[in-house]
């Protein structure tokens, strides 16, 4: 073509990305104007067609155009756009047929359809397909491969208000998507074998792939990709179901382009992968099976699109068979048939679209004698059908003859030698038969009676695409030498390279075996059709393979897998119940600890000291703990009291082993916890001991839990004993002892650690406390007691019964004198709190301890006077305490930053105050003050928020039942 040559780095990206850009443009363009979208698409498709045609001279002589855009170079993944003969042939098919389909769709689509979406998707598909065939990087190939699946999903589901469209789309995506993933892995393996993902390197790798031990894996995955995409047996069933797509989509994707992607990669990788027995057997016979199965099934279709779909499957099987055979001539035939099939099948789909459009049906039973109403369309469809049947002087004949030739001449062994030509002839017969069924059933016979409207010829422009395609069929079929030859040669050469054999495209090769096979097919087809044409028209389902409905199997597996199996598995290997969850966690932790530590536990020396007093303390603590565990179910108060005993033993142990700060904190936390749980106990249901007739399962579970608990106890005891009886490694602790006073300005090393050395931990920790307090507060704000706890407590009700009307007074009397003492304790406890706060840096005490003491002072008043009484007198704003506490801690840290030191860097000095003397002033004390404020705020907030529930007398949850969920089932 006399066009100026276009720079590769512009042309190839343009070819690949213009469709995507146009797609986004169409989608984003405002309005749903049919004209605008269609025009943009048509123009883009035209540009692309011209561009691809114009690129022919550049590749005609076996050159390869490459344009590379770096994407992820370190992983060997680049956008390498590579145009050689094969890619060019496909690019032309994609762009030109795409253009024709767009023209056709202009008239086919109804104005009610969302046209912009249609065109955007069509453009996106075009881009994906071009990207696929031009991929110069095999990972990129897998990417575009999957893109075509995704876009085709959306196109098949275009009329998604129809259930069959949704199902067809989903099935197509799942089948081809699975294949795509397999292909991706195959590409990974091939890349691994070759050492590069660049197609050039792969194609130049010679026998590396077939010789690799990984070849079988790579091949199987590769074929899984190719076969699913090209609807090869047994994955063929998605394609007929994809016919729910609008007919232009069927014409484009499901005849001309996407389904060809499978045979495209078979061709693409043919040079480096075919030379293996595995390839031959799998590919050839999958192809042959598909060829026959498709043709056979097509014969029994009532739906014209179904017929064409199975015909497509059959023809794809033909191409696959050719590629499987592994001879160069067979490869040539395959490439040739790819092009031929695209032209005649696309035109047939469009013709069916017109019939559908004009008659409102595609059912061959309702259609008849249409040649009178649609003479032009009928002529075109008849010619295209003839090409499909392999009638001489049409393109289909040429490639089919080549196919017959190859099957006849291919001679590795007897089985192959017989099965291939017989199968091919049989399939040829069947294809002739279904072609006749199509032509005769639709265009001949009496005028149709069951149509709702009288069909007319469509607008001429709607026929034009078909005319062009049929013209090509004729031109190629009659004068292949001057029409298709150079293009085919370029494509063939790009695949076979030096292996390119001599082949002839002439129409007449003499009277030879292939011709005999053709004649048998022709006559045989007619013989099959003529006597049975009525039966073939009316038959419901396919004889022999009726039960083999892939779709139904697929749907059932999908439904069962997603519903029953998945749910069963999720139930079997997971649980919603808490107890098993905790069991698993603890069991695994124990198992992990034992597995990791048991073998190298080291020696356990006998104890060398025993303190009987501590022994007594732990006799108390241990029995308390065990009894608490035993009582927790029915005697909650007892259990709490016993827990207090264990806590006290813990507290004493801290004191015993030189941890006074811990003992203090433990004691106070213990007290606060007791009050807290008691506050909560009011809202728990009454429990009365039940007779001891536990079911066997529950008892077994209990034994199991006892065993696990015992093992955990043993494990922790052993680990701690082992550590305690060994000398400590030289660690960080000496630093703190050595520097607490010198550098931290305090003698209580633990406190200096808390507010200085590890002050950051403390800051986090008080934040935790604050956060928990906020959560508790928020949760209690909307607390609803259970209905059985909403009343006043039983004790108070009984008292009312016992002494009516006196409850308040009794309570008053009951508490009068103790309350007085408790009120008087308030200032005392506050002073003690201040004392503990001030001394913390040097002696046991500090912000935490003082904070809990302070909050207990408040709680004591609540205990004594009740909520209303206290809040009439004291206004505690716990949230502000929390806020200020955090702020103080934060400011102490930030203060250091302002002075140029890292966050939380402390400073201390001894201030000389007149009359008083030296007073230590450490910034850590301010930090500790923050801790104090926060602890007060958080503890008080939690306790008071809980206490407030008693005076709220809130609404009971569940008093108004939730309404029936409207439409909930539909959504799920």
């Amino acid at each position: 073509m006399p066009l100026p040559s276009i720079p590769t780095d512009f042309a190839l990206p343009l070819l690949c990305f213009l469709p995507f850009l146009a797609s986004i443009f169409v989608l984003a363009a405002p309005g749903e104007k049919i004209r605008g979208a269609a025009w943009v698409t048509a123009v883009v498709a035209a540009i692309l067609s011209l561009l691809s045609l114009a690129l022919f001279p550049s590749i005609a002589n076996g050159e390869v155009l490459i344009s590379r855009i770096e994407w992820v170079p370190q992983l060997g993944l680049n956008l390498t756009l590579r145009l050689d003969g094969l890619a060019w042939l496909f690019a032309v098919l994609i762009t030109c047929i795409g253009f024709l389909v767009v023209l056709y769709a202009r008239y086919y689509m109804s104005p009610k359809d969302p046209i912009a979406r249609f065109h955007a998707l069509l453009l996106a598909f075009m881009g994906a397909m071009i990207g696929l065939v031009m991929s110069g990087n095999i990972i990129q190939l897998a990417i575009f491969w999957e893109l075509t699946s995704l876009v085709s999903f959306l196109l098949i589901g275009y009329w998604y208000h129809r259930g069959d469209a949704r199902d067809g789309a989903r099935m197509a995506l799942i089948i081809t998507g699975t294949g795509g993933l397999a292909l991706f892995v195959s590409m990974l393996v091939i890349g691994h074998i070759v050492g590069s993902y660049e197609l050039d390197d792969v194609l130049a790798s010679g026998g590396k792939i077939v010789e690799s031990p990984l070849y079988p894996v790579a091949l199987i995955l590769f074929l899984l990709g190719a076969f699913t995409k090209s609807a090869q047996f047994p994955f063929q069933f998605w394609l007929p179901n994809a016919m729910t797509a609008p007919t232009p989509v069927s014409a484009y994707l499901h005849s001309a382009t996407m389904v060809k992607a499978g045979v495209f990669i078979l061709t693409r990788f043919w040079p480096v992968m075919h030379d293996h027995q595995l390839w031959f057997w799998i590919v050839t016979y999958t192809g042959l099976a598909t060829l026959i199965f498709g043709a056979y099934t097509a014969l029994f279709q009532r739906d014209l699109k179904g017929l064409l779909a199975y015909s497509t499957i059959s023809h794809l099987g033909l191409i696959t068979t050719l590629l499987g055979m592994g001879t160069p001539l067979a490869a040539v035939a395959a490439i040739f048939h790819i092009a031929n099939h695209a032209t005649f099948k696309a035109s047939l789909f469009m013709a069916v679209g017109i019939i559908d459009h004009e008659t409102g049906t595609r059912d061959v039973r309702k259609l008849s004698g249409l040649r009178k109403y649609l003479p032009f369309t009928a002529t075109l469809a008849i010619i295209a059908s003839a090409a499909m049947a392999g009638v001489p002087l049409l393109n289909g004949f040429l490639s089919k003859e080549m196919f017959f030739t190859e099957t006849a001449e291919f001679d590795p062994n007897v089985f192959v030698n017989l099965s291939l030509p017989i199968g091919a002839t049989l399939a040829g017969m069947l294809s002739v038969a279904y072609s006749i069924k199509f032509v005769h059933g639709v265009f001949f016979g009496p005028p149709p009676t069951e149509l709702e409207k009288v069909p007319h010829e469509p607008p001429a422009l709607m026929r034009r695409p078909i005319e062009i395609l049929v013209l090509i069929c004729l031109a190629v079929g009659i004068i292949p030498g001057i029409t298709i030859a150079p293009y085919l040669a370029a494509a063939v050469h790009s695949v076979l390279g030096a292996e390119t054999p001599y082949y002839s495209l002439s129409v007449w090769h003499g009277f030879n075996l292939p011709l005999i096979m053709s004649i048998i097919a022709m006559v045989g087809g007619a013989v099959i059709y003529v006597p049975y044409y009525r039966k073939l028209r009316d038959i419901d389902g396919v004889p022999l393979t009726r039960g083999l409905v892939g779709q139904r199997v697929f749907e059932r597996i999908l439904v069962t897998a997603t519903n029953r199996w998945a749910r069963h598995l999720v139930g079997a290997f997971g649980t919603q119940r808490l107890q098993p969850q905790i069991f698993v966690v603890i069991f695994l932790a124990l198992a992990a600890g034992i597995a990791a530590g048991w073998a190298r536990m080291g020696n356990l020396p006998l104890p060398d000291s025993f303190d009987p007093v501590l022994g007594l303390v732990w006799l108390l603590g241990g029995i308390s703990a065990l009894a608490a565990a035993q009582q927790a179910k029915f005697h909650r108060l007892a259990s709490m009291i016993l827990m207090g005993g264990a806590g006290l033993a813990t507290c004493l142990t801290f004191a015993w082993f030189s941890a006074p700060d811990l003992a203090l904190t433990q004691l106070l936390a213990e007290i606060a916890t007791t009050v807290l749980i008691l506050l909560g106990l009011r809202w728990l249901p009454k429990r009365s001991p039940v007779p001891e007739s536990t079911p066997m399962a529950a008892r077994l579970r209990r034994y199991r839990d006892v065993a696990l608990a015992g093992l955990v106890g043993l494990g922790t005891a052993l680990a701690s004993y082992a550590i305690m009886t060994r000398s400590a490694s030289e660690g960080i602790s000496d630093f703190f002892l050595a520097n607490a006073y010198k550098e931290g300005g305090g003698t209580n090393v633990v406190n200096v650690m808390l507010v200085d050395f590890r002050g950051f931990d403390t800051m986090g920790e008080i934040t935790v406390l604050g956060v928990v307090a906020l959560t508790v507060f928020g949760l209690l704000r909307r607390f609803r007691p259970a209905s059985d706890s909403a009343e006043r407590p039983e004790q108070q009700r009984v008292l009312d019964e016992y002494a009516p009307g006196s409850s308040e007074n009794v309570a008053d009397d009951f508490l009068r004198i103790p309350a007085l003492i408790m009120n008087w304790m308030f200032p005392v406890v506050v002073v003690v709190a201040i004392y503990m706060l001030m001394r913390g840096h040097d002696l046991p005490g500090g912000g935490f301890i003082a904070g809990i003491i302070m909050s207990l002072a408040f709680i004591l008043q609540y205990l004594a006077g009740g909520t209303r009484w206290v809040e009439e007198r004291l206004r505690i704003l716990p949230l502000l305490w929390i806020g200020w506490g955090l702020l103080l801690a934060l400011l102490t840290g930030v203060g250091a930053m302002v002075l140029g030191a890292p966050f939380l860097t402390s400073a201390f000095a001894y201030a000389d105050i007149p009359l008083i003397g030296k007073v230590p002033m450490a910034t850590a004390l301010i930090f500790d003050l923050g801790v104090f404020a926060l602890v007060v705020g958080a503890t008080v907030l939690m306790l008071i928020a809980l206490a407030h529930q008693s005076i709220r007398r809130p609404k009971v949850a569940g008093s108004n039942k939730p309404k029936q969920r409207v439409g909930a089932d539909k959504w799920n």
Binding site: L799, S806, N809, F814, I817, P818, I821, M822, M825
Partner: protein, 121 residues
């Protein structure tokens, strides 16, 4: 380590400690041995009164001597214990009394008849 005290003082401290512990233990044993709650309520007060007092006194003496300054910390503890123990005991006793009356148990004084409404709160 325990400091070395003059013998008579260490005997004194020892005696106080042992006697205090004995009293406290006796009180605790009372919890076990006595038959009714109203009797048991008297046990712990031995520990909070004289038992505890003696041990605290021993501690005060000991630390005053070893630290060579007046240590009266223990007084604070004694005071706190003395003030707080009755609070629990009174509440507990009152609660028990109430429970016994409601349940109609034997040997519990009846609820006094309310003669008139209380004067002023």
């Amino acid at each position: 380590m325990i400091a070395d005290l003059p013998l008579w003082l260490s005997i004194l401290v020892s005696a106080f400690v042992v006697l205090g512990a004995l009293l406290t233990m006796a009180g605790c044993f009372g919890l076990v041995r006595l038959k009714s709650f109203y009797l048991r309520i008297h046990g712990p007060t031995m520990g909070t009164s004289m038992g505890g007092g003696l041990i605290l006194l021993a501690s005060a003496i000991y630390f005053t001597l070893t630290r060579e300054r007046l240590v009266v910390h223990e007084l604070v503890i004694f005071l706190f214990v003395t003030l707080t123990t009755p609070v629990t005991l009174m509440l507990l006793a009152r609660a028990t009394l109430f429970r016994d009356r409601v349940e109609g148990n034997e040997g519990v004084p009846k609820r006094p008849e309310k003669a008139e409404t209380p004067a002023s709160p």
